[in-house]
Symmetry: C2
Subunit: 203 residues, 2 copies
């Protein structure tokens, strides 16, 4: 569907797509601060250093902009998370740290009080996409835990890798609500990882 121009650059990424990505990053910042309802196209345009009409040149309307923002954000979050999980030569704990940083930690402390309508808007405009992507994230974490040998370590306790992954997600969710800053979150979640990976520590 996308009009594939010939302006492909060294990286293999069309210039227009990286431009679009810049706009979406700016939009994410504004949506996170003000929520869907209280975010105006003008505010997004100013945050992205473009004119309001420049926004409409890339996105049909506010709904379209929001859909694209969520898709881009959650898509790159999942991609970054999977990349972190696959890093060669890193111990499990470090890979988990990177994955959960990409998936949640990166966004802790960036949401304002009016942002409580974001989930509702996302569900209304994108259906089960967020939920689906979250399931894929859990899948990826569970697979990594299994390959790292945690399945055997937790077998006696009757806990599956999937349950370990879901438990880490639940902990991250809780910390997201109780931590004010990103640093606080990362530090507390590092503990959660040490706890989960404890059976791997040779003593």
């Amino acid at each position: 569907m996308s009009t594939a121009k010939k302006s492909a650059v060294s990286e293999g990424v069309p210039a227009e797509d990286s431009r679009r990505a810049q706009l979406l990053e700016s939009a994410l910042g504004v949506f996170a601060r003000f929520g869907y309802r209280k975010t105006s196209m003008d505010e997004v345009a100013r945050a992205a250093n473009v004119s309001r009409q420049g926004l409409y040149l890339h996105f049909a309307n506010k709904e379209d902009l929001f859909r694209a923002t969520v898709r881009h954000t959650i898509g790159s979050s999942l991609a970054d998370a999977k990349r972190a999980l696959a890093v060669e030569g890193a111990v499990l704990a470090e890979r988990l740290r990177g994955a959960f940083h990409a998936w949640v930690g990166r966004y802790v402390g960036r949401f304002g009080a009016d942002a409580s309508d974001l989930m509702q808007a996302a569900e209304g405009l994108l259906g089960t996409l967020v939920f689906d992507q979250e399931k894929l994230f859990v899948d990826a974490v569970a697979a990594t835990l299994r390959e790292a040998g945690l399945a055997a370590a937790y077998k006696p306790a009757g806990v599956t890798p999937r349950q370990l992954a879901e438990n880490l997600c639940a902990t991250a969710r809780g910390l997201k609500h109780s931590c004010d800053t990103q640093e606080e979150f990362e530090e507390a979640f590092a503990v959660a990882i040490r706890i989960t990976c404890a059976p791997l520590v040779q003593d």
Copy 2:
């Protein structure tokens, strides 16, 4: 301060205090469903099967009723939790299950959409009481974990009993937000306990 009447009963609990406790239990149900703002004294009175004036006979006003409700609820939650942690002849996992049931699980699924102002009201009318009690809960859990020998098991991983306790609290917080029913919460938290207690399982 309390006018100690001579109507002490078999249990050693004055009849008026158990009456008061009944009123507070009813009040908790209403506050949980409707929040502080949208709860009326009339609603509480009807839920407790007393007249509205009967309520004012026990509590000076709505603020007083709310303060007493929060104090009673959080106080008995902490007491029940400590009791569960001290149960003789129960394994650690079972004691933790009881403690977190008394502290959080018991209340999962009982809060309505309008209840989001409860924390704010509690902070405004009771200061740091809720926060303080939560700290005491963490202390109690941490002490139990230490006595159960988890400190030694997690020493190699560099995790203290207090960090284990705080991590369990974070997980409980996350599950509270993602679980719709109490059963769902208890089941998921049982997994969290198995993970935390895994080092104790002899294999």
